[in-house]
């Protein structure tokens, strides 16, 4: 992946596949600590502890076991390349929280990229799921919540092209307004 927002899009697809009704995505830029933190949390079906261990390292599984994907290992690799950390907390029946941290100014830290596009794909293609996007930049916070959108839109679907393009601009401006560019 070329941007972290693409990893976020991919990781959030796992939440949707796990039948989440609400997905919260958080990006946190902490200049003083030189840290960037990504967090994708859902209320989907969750995983057992043993399964979490397996999905973090596809090379551990043998060919006879269940085929495991590449999405989680790719984000883990991106974090490790930037001297960061990666963790998954999950509970069956409760949900999952994926956290990746990065050294903010590390030369191999990928740019965040276009979060507006990532969120608009998720929201417009999964209209029954609620999404919350929280972007923190030091002491400032920008929040985007599909519940507010639904209230304002009434019957207009979230995949209306005009709505999709509005969402992208709204998020882009929101991030810029708190100086949250990463």
């Amino acid at each position: 992946m070329k941007e972290l927002s693409l990893n976020i899009l991919d990781i959030a697809q796992n939440s949707i596949a796990a039948n989440a009704t609400c997905v919260t995505i958080q990006v946190c830029k902490d200049t003083a600590q030189n840290r960037l933190t990504l967090c994708i949390e859902d209320d989907g079906k969750g995983m057992t502890e043993a399964f979490v261990k397996k999905v973090c390292d596809p090379f551990v599984t043998t060919r006879t076991t269940r085929k495991v994907g590449m999405g989680i290992p790719l984000l883990k690799l991106a974090a490790e390349q930037a001297e960061g950390t990666f963790s998954i907390q999950s509970e069956v029946g409760k949900g999952t929280k994926v956290t990746a941290t990065f050294t903010l100014n590390h030369i191999d830290r990928l740019p965040l990229g276009d979060i507006g596009q990532t969120m608009s794909v998720l929201v417009s293609c999964n209209q029954t799921v609620d999404f919350v996007y929280i972007h923190k930049a030091d002491d400032k916070t920008f929040v985007f919540d599909t519940k507010q959108m639904r209230a304002a839109l009434g019957d207009v679907p979230l995949n209306d092209p005009e709505v999709v393009l509005w969402m992208q601009e709204y998020i882009k401006e929101g991030i810029l307004s708190i100086n949250g560019g990463v």
Partner: protein, 122 residues
């Protein structure tokens, strides 16, 4: 600056469009593969191009959505177009430019862009 108030304006403007949509029973579905391999190959900008073209041409009888892995990673980004009453058309190795052509030729003018289809790739 964009604000939530813009959505009320869109809502007022779209009321008629939405009405039309519900009456005209069937819409064309444009389905973009959004699994890991699709995303890595560029599915997101392809979906973006479809959305922008639909908006630009004011097309209200088609919508864009996603699906998981379509199963042929080396041909991603893959897009399936479902025109009501017609067979599904699968486009492979899509780009933003190709998406624009598919909207004009296929969605608007009803002519499949054969050179981008999976049948042409294999």
């Amino acid at each position: 600056m964009k604000s939530l108030a813009d959505l009320e304006a869109i809502r007022n403007r779209t009321i008629n469009k939405v009405g039309l949509r519900k009456e005209g029973t069937e819409e064309t579905r444009i389905v973009v593969g959004m699994a890991t391999c699709g995303i890595a190959a560029g599915a997101r900008p392809v979906m973006q191009a479809f959305v922008e073209e639909l908006q630009k041409r004011n097309i209200t009888n088609a919508f864009v959505t996603q699906t998981g892995c379509i199963g042929v990673c080396r041909l991603e980004p893959i897009v399936e177009v479902y025109v009501p009453g017609q067979e599904k058309v699968t486009y492979v190795k899509m780009t933003a430019e190709k998406a624009a052509k598919v909207v004009v030729d296929h969605i608007v003018n009803g002519k499949v862009v054969e050179e981008y289809t999976i049948g042409n790739a294999e």
